[in-house]
């Protein structure tokens, strides 16, 4: 840092101090150092907002407040520059307070000399620079960690699809006429494929447990019922190994808790699975009890104790880290990816709980964790009971979804910042609204044309197309339908000018990005009610929406001459005949796709539907039907030729 171009802000209410420091500053350098003086707490803050400073010197005493309070508030407001406290006294307490308040250094008044002040300033600036670099490096590391988790999640997902093919085909093969040897091979192959899927699931679980902000739905649930469900699902594995799986529930366990039941289930599942896996004989015991917590909460405390191989004391910490197994050698007895406990730790930490292990080698293990959980008391707000759901696949065990009383909205959220999208989606979805996101203005416009929404939240500054232009386009499109969707600007700005610009463009209002969840929901609801309260337009039927969709699907905006379009369609029809004759499905799909595209350009749903009928029949293997539909398609097209001018059905 070149000291000649320094900008210093001094916040000091004493005339004498200002003179002393002014002299010192002048002594640092004859030229170039710019010193601003603020004489009060508030003046200091407004100057900080007003211009850029390299360092801020703050007197220990300020009006009726202290310099520490000044610094704390400044940091809270996001000012990230080095602060140096100027104090009259020097003792341990001051030093401790200085650092606690977030100041970089302190100087004692009667020791002030130009050299000392200059050095303190240089050091403080340098220290701040290093701090910022570290923070940046940390952010980058986190980001790359997230990218990795995302990659792992995607990969495991991608791998499941072909595995699905493997298993399905093996199943089909097993039903053909095969001898018993072949059947045995098939069953072994299927077993392997199944194990592979279990591993993929585990990795997917791990990756998603790393992902920040990925919450499960909060539900009301019965802790005992949940634990029973998990334990029952493990019963078979335990019995298979000759182990007793016992459960102990304390009598003070509440009937109903409110929280993330899915995650709690996962924790229990992994811990029980581990206990059973690493125990050769004896028993596995699960116990659940309730410890007092802060008001309205309990600390749900759970223990899983086994009589298995145990964990040597020097490895207690390591077992919780990913990819770790006590015996990691090539000859290890136990399989698995070694992710179970690290998943558990992450989930427990995310839920604000603690986990620990008590174990010695050869003497079994005891894993215990506690989680804060809200207790549901009787006079709870009415949460609508979800209807009994059919299907044996899903069993939520009487858990109820929490829903608010307000109307559920479908909201389009356009913002280029992933953080904003995540946060706002999270708030809205948590309250039962449906959110569709767009990364920029042009995507927002495209989405708006494809689906119908109750409201749009639109960031103003976005790449490619900003929020104002997107709003203009949407308003222009609405001219034809007479509809008016509430568009609210998402903005970080408070200036009247900016907000007026939003309203002039056709937005209905704005929401500040620092808004609280309650404010967001309230503002959104008020604008939606305002619009639907006036005219209360019938929501478009979906059939109509799909109609709109195909009309908008025109691949590009080139104007195709109707005659050309018509000729192309007829040519494609001829090709389709050939594809049908040779039973070539790939070609049939290709020509049909082109035909449907042309049909949508010509706004003819008749042609598109008939083409699709050809496709469906062909895919079924019903070639006679396909030929019939193709003939029908040709007659539709020839009618057009007669009518000319391309008047279709829509």
């Amino acid at each position: 840092m070149n000291i000649e171009s320094l900008r210093i802000l001094l916040v000091d209410d004493s005339e004498d101090d200002v003179i002393i420091i002014q002299n010192c500053v002048n002594g640092i350098s004859e030229t170039g150092v710019h010193l601003d003086c603020a004489r009060t707490f508030n003046d200091g803050h407004s100057r900080l907002s007003g211009s850029q400073y390299d360092v801020c010197l703050v007197d220990y005493h300020l009006d009726r407040k202290t310099g520490f309070e000044f610094i704390r508030e400044a940091i809270e407001r996001g000012f990230n520059l080095p602060f140096i406290i100027i104090t009259g006294q020097d003792d341990n307490q001051v030093e401790r307070l200085v650092l606690a308040a977030g100041a970089t250094d302190y100087l004692v008044k009667n020791e002030l000399k130009p050299a000392i002040l200059g050095r303190a300033i240089r050091y403080a600036i340098e220290r701040k620079r290093v701090e910022k670099q570290i923070a940046l490096a940390r952010d980058e590391a986190l980001e790359s960690d997230n990218a990795k988790s995302e990659f792992i999640a995607n990969m495991s997902h991608e791998m499941r699809t072909p595995m699905n093919g493997v298993i399905g085909m093996l199943d089909l093969l097993a039903e053909t006429e095969i001898n018993s040897k072949q059947r045995e091979y098939l069953m072994l192959a299927r077993f392997s494929a199944k194990s592979m899927i279990t591993i993929l699931d585990r990795i997917l679980d791990y990756a998603s447990s790393c992902e920040a902000g990925r919450d499960h739905l909060l539900t009301e649930f019965n802790p005992r019922g949940l634990a029973e469900k998990i334990a029952n699902s493990m019963q078979y594995n335990a019995e298979h190994k000759g182990l007793h799986l016992t459960r102990i529930y304390s009598s003070d366990l509440p009937e109903l808790l409110f929280g993330d039941a899915v995650s709690l289930g996962k924790i229990l599942h992994h811990l029980l699975e581990n206990a059973i896996k690493f125990t050769e004989q004896g028993s596995v015991a699960l116990s659940l009890k309730s410890n007092p917590g802060k008001e309205g909460y309990i600390r749900l405390s759970c223990e899983i104790r086994d009589t298995g191989i145990g964990v040597p004391e020097d490895q207690h910490e390591a077992v919780f880290s990913p990819f770790h197994q006590v015996d990691g050698s090539f000859t290890r007895r136990f399989g698995g990816v070694g992710l179970g406990l690290s998943i558990v730790v992450r989930i427990v930490e995310k839920m604000g709980g603690e986990i620990g292990i008590k174990s010695r080698k050869g003497e079994g293990s005891c894993f215990s964790f506690t989680l804060p959980m809200r207790v549901v008391t009787e006079n709870k707000p009415s949460s609508s009971q979800i209807d009994d759901i059919g299907g044996s696949v899903l069993n939520l065990q009487g858990e109820k979804l929490i829903t608010g009383q307000n109307r559920k909205l479908k909201v389009l959220l356009a913002d280029d910042s992933k953080v904003t999208r995540t946060v706002f989606s999270h708030i809205l979805e948590k309250n039962g609204h449906q959110v569709v996101t767009a990364n920029d203005g042009s995507e927002a416009v495209a989405r708006f044309q494809q689906e119908s929404f109750d409201a749009i939240l639109m960031d103003v500054q976005m790449p490619l197309m900003n929020g104002l232009n997107a709003t203009r386009m949407i308003r222009a499109k609405e001219l034809t339908t007479g509809a008016h969707i509430p568009i609210l600007a998402l903005t970080a700005s408070d200036t009247k000018n900016d907000l007026e610009k939003c309203l002039q463009t056709g937005m209905d209002g704005y929401i500040h990005k620092n808004v609280t969840a309650a404010e967001l929901l309230e503002t959104l609801a008020s604008y939606v009610n305002k619009v639907s309260g006036g005219e209360n337009p019938e929501p478009k039927s979906f059939a109509a929406r799909v109609g709109d969709l195909s009309a908008e699907l025109t691949p590009d905006n080139d104007v195709v001459q109707p005659e050309d379009n018509e000729r192309c369609m007829k040519t494609l029809c001829r090709y389709l005949h050939e594809a049908l004759e040779y039973r070539n499905e790939a070609l049939m799909e290709k020509y049909s796709l082109s035909l449907k595209r042309l049909a949508s350009q010509a706004k003819s749903s008749k042609v598109a539907d008939e083409t699709f009928r050809v496709q469906l029949a062909f895919r079924r293997g019903d070639f006679d039907k396909a030929a019939l539909h193709l003939a029908a398609l040709e007659s539709i097209l020839s009618e057009v030729a007669v009518g000319k001018g391309f008047k279709f059905d829509m």
Binding site: N164, G168, D171, I197, G391, L401, F542, A543
Partner: protein, 132 residues
């Protein structure tokens, strides 16, 4: 039983078709948009589907959207609740959010996490009384 299979993955389509063809005609749609179109056409022609087997992750229009569209077409035509088409959603994603979405907001009848086992699927159909 008339079935509409909605799948973007070729092999998964084949598997479902092999499993279900013995029980009746199977149409195939390769994305949500096609599914909605096929459903609308079949309803208009008075030969509705008894079963829709639909993947959730698909290009153009995903399974959740398509399911909503299908339910809304039924509503528009005044189809009574017991005559609604049975919809089995299939997906590689077993996370609760997807499941909840499929059931509560979309109106799926059942939900199967891939891999789709033949017995698992047929059991569902027996539960719906679509097959014996």
């Amino acid at each position: 039983m008339k079935t509409l299979i909605v799948e973007d993955d070729f092999i998964s389509r084949r598997i479902l078709k092999e499993i279900l063809t013995p029980y009746g005609e199977c149409d195939i749609a390769i994305d949500g948009e096609e599914a909605v179109q096929a459903f609308r056409m079949a309803t208009d022609e008075n030969v509705p589907y008894d079963l829709v087997c639909m993947d959730i992750m698909m290009p153009n229009m995903d399974g959740q959207e398509a399911l909503k569209a299908i339910r809304s077409i039924e509503k528009g035509r005044g189809v009574s609740e017991e005559d609604e088409v049975k919809v089995v959603m299939t997906t590689a994603l077993g996370d609760p959010k997807t499941v909840v979405e499929a059931f509560y907001r979309g109106g799926a009848t059942a939900y199967i996490v891939k891999p789709i086992g033949k017995q698992k699927l047929l059991q569902e159909l027996r539960d719906f009384k679509l097959i014996l």
